[in-house]
């Protein structure tokens, strides 16, 4: 196999931790297993659940799949054809940014394809468990979402590892297409073991008046790298991207998000809230392109990082590339420490210092998760987030009051 993998010398990969690519067997899928030792999260009521281990489907059972709504399993070859038939051919662009997605397409052998016919709606929960050790191969989850005209899709994509000390390597790829008037809520939660490495590439194509709302919550992984390409291709297409990330210990979380406005009246709302504790590292590179065909485009970027550890690092990079005069573009990026005045206010009310720190961290990141639906999922994510902040026990009762 001769796909050149990205390195830190590549423009959009400077902050990524790519050591796992050298360590893992990135061109081999691990042997198939039929069950998982992982404790799966409680099922979300009303959601159709699919469970994959190391990229292969274990539930629902094969016999139950035919009746399983709009979702079906394809092999890689079928998936390629089915998807390419419905999308612009340029989605699978060349270049190093897509190298990992190409490895995924070449090595993964099961693709979950969810296609909603026009005017339909559904809710799906996709659970991807990585169980194999890095030395045995890489997991290749692959998902294709096609939301037909005026459809409503809620999809929850979870990534976890079978054990807490797993060094698994995941290379996921997700393709999303929204036809005109479709509304897709996509929540991605990465909660893998702290020694694992999780890479993903997401490409979305948003049609006329369609709305793509993507929430990402990144908590696990020694290294986590998300590469997002979102094309607002139809008039008045809208994208809301909210990304929350907490890097503890020596975790490195890196996001590259390119959103391209191709049509008139397209709108982007991009929000990043990241906390780097201990010696954690965070990077968010948000590139916004407004083409000359996208007059009256409206983009808003708010990227904020909080450093609480003495060895913590963060890089927030908003980039604007604008080819038309008729545009409204707003962007802001801040990297800071906990506000001293807020801190003193909480202390003066008798709150312990560690609790005050956790409380302010919570307040900081809450912006990026407060709109996650359904409420059951939001509560679960909130408690996972609290678990990642130091001194969680002191915050007992916070969720009941806050929500």
């Amino acid at each position: 196999m001769s796909i050149a993998l990205p390195t830190n010398r590549d423009e959009n990969w400077r902050y990524a931790n790519l050591r796992a690519l050298g360590r893992a067997r990135v061109d081999a899928a691990p042997p198939a297993v039929t069950q998982t030792a992982a404790a799966l999260p409680a099922e979300l009521p009303g959601f159709e659940r699919w469970v994959f281990v190391d990229g292969r489907c274990i539930a629902p059972a094969p016999a139950a799949r035919s009746s399983a709504g709009f979702a079906r399993l394809l092999d890689a070859r079928e998936a390629g054809e089915a998807f390419a038939a419905q999308l612009d051919s340029d989605l699978a662009s060349a270049g190093v940014d897509f190298a990992l997605a190409r490895v995924n397409a070449a090595r993964g052998d099961e693709v979950l394809h969810i296609a909603l016919p026009d005017d339909s709606s559904t809710q799906c929960e996709l659970v991807f468990v990585a169980s194999a050790a890095a030395a045995n191969g890489t997991s290749y989850p692959r998902v294709q979402l096609v939301a037909g005209r005026n459809t409503r899709l809620q999809v929850v994509e979870r990534h976890l590892t079978a054990s807490g000390d797993s060094d698994a390597v995941v290379n996921a790829a997700v393709d999303v297409a929204l036809r005109s008037g479709a509304v897709v809520d996509h929540v991605r939660v990465q909660h893998c073991a702290d020694k694992s490495a999780v890479f993903d590439t997401l490409v979305a194509h948003v049609g006329e008046r369609a709305q793509y709302r993507l929430h990402t919550v990144t908590l696990g992984g020694a290294t986590s790298r998300s590469t997002l390409f979102i094309k607002l291709a139809g008039r008045d297409a809208r994208c809301e991207l909210s990304a929350a990330s907490i890097a503890n210990g020596i975790q490195t979380h890196d996001v590259f998000a390119e959103i391209e406005h191709l049509a008139a009246g397209t709108v982007t709302r991009e929000l990043f809230r990241g906390i780097a504790n201990d010696r954690g590292k965070l990077a968010f590179n948000g590139k916004m392109i407004v083409r000359d065909t996208a007059h009256d485009a409206d983009s808003d970027q708010s990227l904020k990082s909080l450093l609480t550890g003495s060895g913590a690092e963060a890089a927030a990079r908003p980039q604007l590339e604008i080819h038309t005069d008729r545009v409204r573009a707003k962007h802001g990026a801040t990297i800071g420490k906990l506000d001293e005045q807020m801190m003193f206010y909480l202390l003066s009310r008798g709150i312990e210092r560690v609790d005050a720190q956790a409380l302010l961290q919570w307040a900081f990141i809450e912006d990026a998760i407060s709109r996650i639906e359904p409420p059951a999922l939001r509560r679960e994510i909130e408690s996972q987030v609290l678990g990642r902040l130091h001194a969680v026990s002191a915050l007992t009762g916070l969720l009941g009051e806050a929500s």
Binding site: L346, S348, R349, G350, E352, L398, E401
Partner: protein
Amino acid sequence: MTTLLKIENLSATVGGKKVLNGVSLEVNAGEVHAIMGPNGSGKSTLSYILAGRPGYEITGGSVQFEGRDLTALAPEERARAGLFLGFQYPVEIPGVNNVYLLKAAVNARRKELGQPEVDAYEFLQLVRAKMKLMQMDESFLSRGVNEGFSGGEKKRNEILQMLVIEPTLAVLDETDSGLDIDALKVVARGVNSLRSAERGVLLITHYQRLLDHVVPDQVHVLVRGRIAKSGDKSLALELEKRGYDWVLEVA
């Protein structure tokens, strides 16, 4: 009579600049003391030093709170010991819920006193009753701490916190500034409702008008970092008439 607060010959600097220059003051249980003084005389500095705000260096003297060396305690320990600071400019903390903060503060204090945590239902009833006293809207409960509050609402919220926490000594830093007369009366009612034989209040104010509604036992005038004059409530009225220049001349 129990002495709550005993400040002896206190001197302090901030950023190398001398801000307090030998302050001595004693507040007994059951008393309300007012500290008045011109701008820049060290009034707010004194409140921050009592609460333990970082950046202030004590260069001399001592502060005892119920017989303990207050300066040896961290800000959160002072609060749990029963000291409350009502801020002149309360900070907004979006994302931290008002009720959560109140509850955490009360439980921190109760833990210190060896009492169990508050019952959630009873606590909410208590907060609602105090809110009514402070004429605050119910929507306050679900909002972030001081988030989007007007100046007057922030001051009411400080007094509400004080009423719920029930401190032994409340230091109120210019709680009256920026309030219209109706809001001033509401705040005064809140402060008066806390007055008791066991508690003390230190009111820091620039104007006499709050003292019409919260009548102090003693009034002190702080000038250039020291107390230049002390007296009963009539001193405040005299200051109102003659201005601070009069004390400056005497000092």
